[in-house]
């Protein structure tokens, strides 16, 4: 019962903030609302007993991505916030297509019977994640490290002003 209440409350916040992000005319507000949205997603993760992912969500997204985005906004001027609206046909097409997509996906989800497991979720997700990172997922882990390194170097090189 209380889980459902929390779910719906969070879902309402998440959907409203997502819509607000997408429709916001002010870039800064959009990023702030996105931060709120990401926190609600973190809440969802806690609700799903995935507390390590939830913490990481806060850590990486709110503490990292949002801050980087705010930096990005602050380094570009305010006028850039006001941008042209998309063409009408693009708008119409987008709304119809996305609505159809959501509808179809919902239909598919409802029609599908998922084989859910009644097992208790793991308690200590941190140590489980650590073990999995070093065993089953060691290759993706290493690849992700390389990717992050590459992204780090790439971002620095791309964003750096050319020295004359």
């Amino acid at each position: 019962m209380i889980e459902q209440v929390i779910f719906f409350a969070l879902a309402a916040v998440a959907i409203i903030s997502a819509i607000a992000v997408v429709l916001s005319r002010n870039l800064f507000h959009a990023v702030m609302i996105l931060g709120g949205f990401l926190l609600t997603i973190a809440g969802f993760y806690f609700l799903l007993n995935a507390d390590f992912v939830g913490i990481m969500q806060v850590f990486v997204y709110v503490g990292g991505v949002i801050v980087v985005m705010l930096f990005g906004i602050m380094l570009t001027p305010h006028e850039a916030n006001i941008t042209n609206a998309a063409k009408l046909q693009q708008k119409l097409g987008t709304y119809i297509a996305v609505a159809a997509l959501i509808g179809l996906l919902a239909m598919i989800f409802i029609r599908t019977t998922f084989i859910t497991s009644p097992a208790e979720p793991v308690k200590d997700t941190v140590s489980l994640a650590g073990k999995l990172f070093m065993t089953n997922y060691v290759l993706p882990f290493e690849v992700i490290s390389v990717l992050l390194l590459a992204a780090l170097v790439g971002a620095i090189i791309v964003a750096r002003k050319e020295e004359h």
Binding site: A86, Q90, G93, T94, A97, V98, A100, L101, L104, L105, M107, I108, R111, T112
Partner: protein, 611 residues
């Protein structure tokens, strides 16, 4: 190396040297060209003496071999070519010497001499030809250098136009010549003259080929109806007119007919055509010359007229007489032209009514011009008389009475317009101020006049009855000279004198009533406008050609381009339609991806029934 080839190669060498160094050397290039020509001339004399001693040389070598067809080049030296060699080289030499004075100060004098040299070489090549291919090539070479020389002052619009006109019109005749060559090769299987003449071709075929050849001659020798280019060609420098458009190139047509005479004789109809065309040309050109007021135009028409005479002579069977006239004409006509050049050089005008009374100021010029005029008018003992008389006698003897009568009328007209020119230019009082500072030309110009005057006076004698018609005997092996017809001689002589008398009455005294040649007269207008030949060509050829060209253009633009553009238009419309998809915005593409995803989902649900 044979001395004959040296005659030919020296001018070529001179051309090559002058093309490279002509610009640098300037007027000094004249020495190269003249020097080459002196040697050529000397060797030509030697060749003539060799032939007169009974010699005959034919050198051939294979130039290209295409299957069974062997294209040979060669140097043929017989009486006709020997005579032409001498004529060409001497006239060329004298003209080049004259040009040294006349072209003084021209910037492109090196190029001028290069062209003159190469023209002479082309002409010599033509004269040497033992086969028709070589003739045809030389023929075109002559045409090209004629074109270059007429258009030598190409800065003048009229000069470049005249050059183009000359080239186009003669090409028109050459077309017939070319077709004739192909036909001859098909029929005879060879283009070597010896072999062709030795054959017995069917009469009609021979006549057809001969007439086609004659077409080329009509173009080159400015016969009716393709004579229109020659008067315009007077836009070229006067020495060029003297060399090319009186003595050599225009004589090439006559030379061709003379050279191919056996072929013509195989189809006698062709000779009739030659005679008639020649007569028409002679008479018509003489009438036009009556009203011409440009000193060079008068001479140009007289040239056409005399060429007509030669053709007439050849046509009526007086082969030797025609060639004889070719030779004498080649002496007195350059004389007249060079004299005219001298006059023009002195008064800086070509309009005869700007001149007058020049006789006192330019003694040598006027005397030599007078000699030339007498030769042209046919007054004994000058050169023209003997040859022209031979032709008339030949016409009379062959029984072509109409041709004979027109020939006599032409003699009358010739005498009249020649002396009209002489009286207006050299006698009377000066008109205008063009002649105020006129004085005798320098020796380099008057010397050739004197030499040519000498020949104009004496060249006829070698073919006169006094010399037992030695020339005819030399040229025409087997064509025995007619017995001198003193009746014809006397008649032509008298008629010429009458013409001179009329001219004297009209232009020196005022005895003749002025309304005899009134400017409102229908005939006068007809003549002034040259029988409206240019206009006729304009409306008969150029206008339809333009119309066809416009139609073709319209077809090309509307139909051909239309098809191409239509294809392009269709592609463009497709592209324009597809451009709405290809916006360049990633977001649009992403939208298409989403739509595609939706379609896939619907497909998997409805068609595959997956969910």
């Amino acid at each position: 190396m044979n001395y004959l080839s040296i005659i030919l190669l020296l001018p070529v060498l001179s051309f090559l040297v002058l093309v490279v160094f002509g610009k640098k050397w300037g007027e000094k290039s004249a020495y190269v060209s003249i020097g080459a020509m002196v040697v050529s001339f000397a060797l030509s004399i030697y060749a003539l003496l060799f032939v007169m001693g009974g010699g005959h040389t034919e050198i051939t070598f294979t130039w290209a071999s295409i299957g069974s067809f062997k294209l040979t080049f060669g140097l043929l030296l017989d009486a006709l070519s020997a005579m032409m060699l001498v004529v060409v080289t001497i006239v060329s030499l004298l003209v080049q010497i004259f040009s040294f004075g006349y072209m003084h100060g021209d910037k492109r004098i090196g190029w001028f001499y290069a062209c003159l040299s190469m023209f002479t070489a082309s002409m010599l090549l033509l004269v040497y030809s033992p086969n028709y291919v070589q003739i045809y090539m030389a023929w075109e070479g002559v045409g090209v250098f004629s074109y270059l020389l007429i258009g030598f002052w190409f800065e003048k619009r009229s000069a470049s136009d005249a050059a183009k006109k000359a080239f186009m019109v003669t090409r028109f005749g050459d077309l017939g010549f070319g077709v004739g060559l192909v036909l001859l090769y098909i029929v005879a299987g060879t283009l070597d003259m010896d072999k062709v003449f030795a054959m017995h071709l069917p009469e009609a075929t021979a006549a057809l080929i001969a007439i086609l050849f004659f077409c080329g001659a009509v173009g080159k020798s400015a016969q009716f109806p393709l004579h229109v280019w020659l008067p315009d060609a007077m836009e070229g420098p006067t020495p060029v007119s003297a060399l090319i458009h009186s003595a050599t190139m225009v004589a090439a047509g006559v030379y061709l007919v003379a050279r191919s005479y056996p072929l013509f004789e195989m189809g006698p109809v062709s000779l009739e055509v030659v005679a008639i065309i020649g007569t028409i040309t002679a008479f018509m050109a003489a009438t036009i010359a009556l009203t011409a007021t440009d000193i060079k135009k008068v001479l140009a028409y007289s040239t056409i007229s005399q060429l007509g005479y030669m053709m007439m002579g050849l046509g009526v069977g007086a082969y030797a007489a025609g060639v004889f006239h070719l030779m004498t004409h080649a002496f007195f006509k350059p004389l007249l032209f060079l004299g005219a050049g001298s006059v023009i050089h002195a008064v800086h005008s070509q309009e005869i009514f700007d001149m007058g009374g020049l006789g006192k100021k330019m003694k040598i010029t006027s005397i030599t011009f007078l000699i030339g005029g007498l030769a042209l008018a046919g007054i004994p003992p000058f050169a023209g008389f003997w040859s022209k008389d031979e032709i008339l006698a030949g016409a009379f003897a062959s029984g072509h009475i109409t041709i004979f009568i027109f020939g006599l009328l032409t003699v009358l007209l010739t005498a009249f317009y020649t002396f009209r020119l002489i009286f207006i230019v050299f006698f009377g009082k000066p008109r205008g101020h063009h002649g105020d500072h006129a004085h005798e030309s320098p020796a380099v110009m008057s010397m050739p006049l004197i030499i040519l005057g000498f020949f104009a006076l004496t060249a006829g004698l070698i073919g006169s009855p006094f010399a037992q018609n030695a020339f005819q005997g030399f040229i025409a092996h087997g064509h025995e000279a007619e017995a001198p017809n003193y009746m014809v001689m006397g008649a032509s002589c008298i008629i010429a004198l009458i013409g001179i008398g009329f001219a004297y009455m009209k232009y020196m005294t005022n005895v003749l009533p002025s309304n005899v040649i009134s400017k409102d007269n229908f005939f006068y207008k007809l003549l002034v406008n040259k029988y409206y030949m240019d206009e006729f060509y304009y409306y008969a050829l150029i206008v339809p050609t333009h119309a066809v060209a416009r139609a073709a253009l319209a077809f090309d633009q509307k139909v051909v381009d239309g098809a191409v553009n239509g294809v392009a238009w269709v592609s463009m419309q497709f592209g324009k339609g597809l451009r709405h998809i290809q916006t360049g915005y990633v977001q649009n593409y992403a939208l298409y991806m989403v739509i595609g995803l939706v379609v896939l989902l619907i497909w998997s649900i409805k068609i595959l029934g997956l969910f």
